[in-house]
């Protein structure tokens, strides 16, 4: 996991019981990332300088905080005053709705957009963080990890994500909104199917793209095989140059290739064809048995009807 020019080896002291000192890292699922980007679009419509919202997800384990859902929370932030009002009822209601579908998930922190390229943490950040720390403690997640704050910096055009954790400054007392924000490693995680869908969406940015007719999954398999083939071609070009003595080969690369290719018998055409056949046979057998069961049920229903008549 990437760590920039900051040091984060252990998590800071937090209010409530300290479960583990393990360092924190944030993973944002593709769905949550999409929701965060969606809120960026609202930032221009918003009367405040920024948009804020709640981050939800499963209870953190081993220091990894996985954000699975993000939703917008209305707030009012007058420019001339260091004060802020958050529609806490809206936040509660929205979270309760989410909780009905995801009973084990909790509030993990909050996010905000910013347009300041140099400073993505403002003077009122501490106030909002304090509000969310209370929310986290109320629903139990605060005892597992300190609240996370994610900023979406819109100054560069493409939103830049930064995750922070915070430790308090001064005595622990109600209303203490003084915090020391430290960056923590943050990454966006997505599944293979998410990546495939996103690659199609990315293609549509420059050209008209229609999904392939017929079996989409088979088309994806073929497209991936072509991509892999192109990669293999680039390796082959390199290895050919090494073999012909045109360039000096990198021994580390050679060893890595040899090690990886030794275990790639799963792609052998004969083995693959055999596996496909076995899979189709299994599928057909299940379909056949389903058909037989259905016939027997139909027969049984009709026989019962005849007996009753």
């Amino acid at each position: 996991m990437s760590q920039g020019n900051f040091l984060h080896l252990v998590r800071p002291t937090q209010p409530g019981p300290q479960v583990s000192p393990a360092p924190l890292s944030v993973q944002i699922t593709s769905v949550a990332y999409h929701e965060l980007l969606d809120t960026c679009l609202r930032s221009n419509e918003n009367e405040n300088n920024r948009v804020i919202g709640t981050l939800c997800g499963s209870r953190p384990t081993d220091g990894v905080v996985e954000i699975g859902h993000a939703f917008y929370v209305p707030h009012y932030e007058p420019e001339d005053k260091d004060e802020i009002s958050i529609e806490s009822d809206h936040q509660k209601l929205e979270f309760q709705l989410y909780k009905k579908a995801h009973q084990k998930n909790v509030v993990l922190g909050w996010f905000s957009t910013t347009t300041d390229a140099q400073n993505d943490i403002s003077s009122t950040t501490g106030l909002i963080h304090d509000f969310y720390n209370k929310v986290s403690l109320e629903n139990g997640s605060g005892a597992l990890a300190p609240g996370i704050h994610i900023t979406l910096n819109l100054a560069a055009g493409v939103p830049q994500l930064t995750a922070y954790t915070a430790s308090t400054i001064g005595k622990a007392r109600p209303g203490n909104s003084n915090y020391y924000f430290t960056p923590v490693p943050c990454e966006i995680v997505y599944s293979a199917s998410d990546a495939q869908a996103l690659s199609w969406i990315a293609l549509a940015a420059d050209q008209d793209v229609a999904l392939p007719s017929g079996d989409v999954e088979v088309a994806h398999v073929n497209a991936n095989a072509k991509q892999l083939e192109a990669l293999v071609d680039s390796y082959l070009a390199y290895v050919s140059k090494v073999v012909s003595g045109e360039i000096q080969g990198d021994d580390k690369l050679g060893r890595a290739l040899l090690k990886e290719l030794s275990g790639s018998s799963g792609l052998d055409s004969a083995v693959l064809a055999q596996k496909f056949d076995a899979h189709v046979d299994d599928l057909l057998m299940v379909e056949h048995l389903c058909g037989v069961v259905k016939q027997q049920l139909d027969l049984s229903v009709k026989l019962s009807a005849n007996f009753k008549a």
């Binding site: 760590q3 920039g4 020019n5 900051f6 040091l7 080896l9 252990v10 800071p12 002291t13 000192p21 360092p23 260091d82 400073n119 993505d120 403002s122 950040t125 501490g126 830049q160 922070y164 430790s167 400054i169 001064g170 005595k171 622990a172 909104s177 003084n178 915090y179 020391y180 430290t182 960056p183 490693p185 088979v218 073929n222 095989a225 083939e229 293999v232 290895v239 050919s240 073999v243 021994d251 050679g254 060893r255 040899l258 090690k259 290719l261 790639s264 792609l267 055409s269 693959l272 496909f276 899979h279 189709v280 379909e287 058909g291 016939q295 027969l299 009709k302 026989l303 009807a305 005849n306």
Partner: protein
């Protein structure tokens, strides 16, 4: 990325912060005059030495109270133009670090992780070129070492050398710190530790014969088996005329007799035996324990244990057969010099992989056709069977016609399956 740095967000005025700090000191029964040096937003410069000298008292706070209180002191000291006060506070903080972990039941005593967290806060607040960053880093390493929590240093490895360079630490001192960290984490991350040491010798200017010798010795004693690449590192040529280089060459060539004669550790001999096994197993399918013992000059009784170690180190992959005392080779890592012959093997394997990838669409298409054909035939059969069943239920079909229907159903399904 956006500005990746720490931020202090304080909602109160500086005089409120100083008052709060004074109340923390008062709770520890410490008399203080810090409040006298602040009047509204006006700060008397005498405030900073007073605060810097008082931070040592914060060690009397409980573990949970310590970091927030120290953060407050850092905030007040960050208002000073001179960083010497922060340096004084840093020295006091390092002195407060425990040398052994308190028990789990002890909730009051200061924990090493709390001090490390506070040191990280100071580190993140300082500019990259500040020498205090190096002091904080070295202190973190020492605390982790003393408290046997070196594993927490792993995220530090990719940046350690660059951070120390930015903080204007000289090359010799950087190498010393790097070796210290490498020795601490080699149990958890042996490859990363060796990489770290290698970079400190190759990337930093002015490596001496002693530095390179220390690097080669470290590599020979580490658990990393394949050290053939060391001889191709230019700076290693500095030790070419020393007995250490002869030992390295003997290790790489698998000359066990010469290694045993030289003054090397048992761990190095054990690694050399694994290396010799890997070289012997290259290109072989099934090998007896006796043949392996003869090839590497070891006892036949030890061969099984050596093979298990080789499998554990992911040098070889295969199956041990105790009944026949033989080893079936599945895969052997390419160790030692990477020759043209091995590049040719890579080329052949890549070409085979390319061919297999080209065949995928055809295989998928065939499977689709097979499934599609069967489904169509099966639907027809199902329809006829359903009609026959309905007729049977109505009592219209005779026993003879039912048998004919059943026979046709079985025949069509079998044909489709073909």
């Amino acid at each position: 990325m956006a500005s990746l740095r720490s931020h202090i967000v304080v909602d109160s005025s500086i005089s409120d912060c100083v008052s709060e700090y004074a109340s923390i000191l008062s709770s520890l029964q410490k008399s203080t005059t810090v409040e006298e040096f602040v009047n509204g937003d006006d700060i008397n410069e005498q405030l900073f030495p007073e605060v810097a000298d008082s931070v040592a008292s914060l060690g009397e706070l409980s573990d949970r109270e310590f970091e927030p209180a120290f953060n407050l002191a850092i905030y007040i000291l960050s208002q000073a133009e001179d960083s010497q006060y922060l340096a004084t506070a840093l020295t006091s903080l390092i002195a407060l670090a425990p040398t052994s972990k308190p028990s789990i039941q002890d909730k009051k005593s200061l924990r090493p992780t709390t001090v490390i967290s506070t040191l990280s806060n100071i580190f993140n607040l300082l500019p990259e070129t500040s020498p205090l960053r190096a002091t904080a880093l070295k202190a973190i390493i020492t605390i982790a070492s003393q408290n046997k929590i070196a594993h927490i240093l792993v995220p530090l490895l990719p940046h350690l050398q660059n951070w120390l360079i930015s903080a204007n630490v000289n090359a010799a001192e950087i190498r010393q710190t790097v070796f210290q960290v490498a020795r601490l984490i080699e149990v958890d991350e042996p490859v990363k530790a060796l990489d770290l040491v290698e970079k400190s010798v190759t990337d930093l200017a002015g490596a001496t014969v002693a530095d390179v010798s220390a690097f080669v010795t470290y590599a020979l004693n580490s658990v990393v088996v394949d050290l053939n690449y060391l001889t191709s590192i230019p700076v290693v040529a500095l030790v070419q005329s020393t007995p250490l280089y002869t030992t390295l060459t003997a290790y790489n060539t698998g000359d066990l007799a010469q290694l045993k004669a030289a003054d090397v550790s048992k761990a190095t001999i054990a690694k050399a035996e694994l290396l010799a096994i890997a070289k012997f197993l290259q290109g072989k399918d099934v090998v007896t324990y006796g043949a392996i013992a003869e090839a590497i000059g070891a006892s036949a009784d030890d061969v099984e244990l050596l093979l298990i170690k080789a499998i554990e180190q992911q040098i070889v992959l295969g199956r041990l057969n105790q009944a026949t005392e033989s080893f079936t080779v599945h895969k052997v890592s390419a160790l030692g010099e990477f020759t043209t012959e091995q590049w040719l093997t890579v080329q052949a394997k890549l070409e085979a992989l390319k061919q297999n990838l080209q065949n995928i669409p055809e295989i998928v298409e065939q499977a689709k056709k097979k499934k599609g054909g069967f489904v169509t035939a099966h639907k027809k059969v199902n329809q006829r069977a359903a009609a026959a069943a309905a007729a049977a239920a109505e009592g219209e079909a005779t026993e003879e016609s039912e048998d004919v229907e059943k026979f046709e159903v079985v025949e069509e399904v079998a044909a489709a399956a073909e």
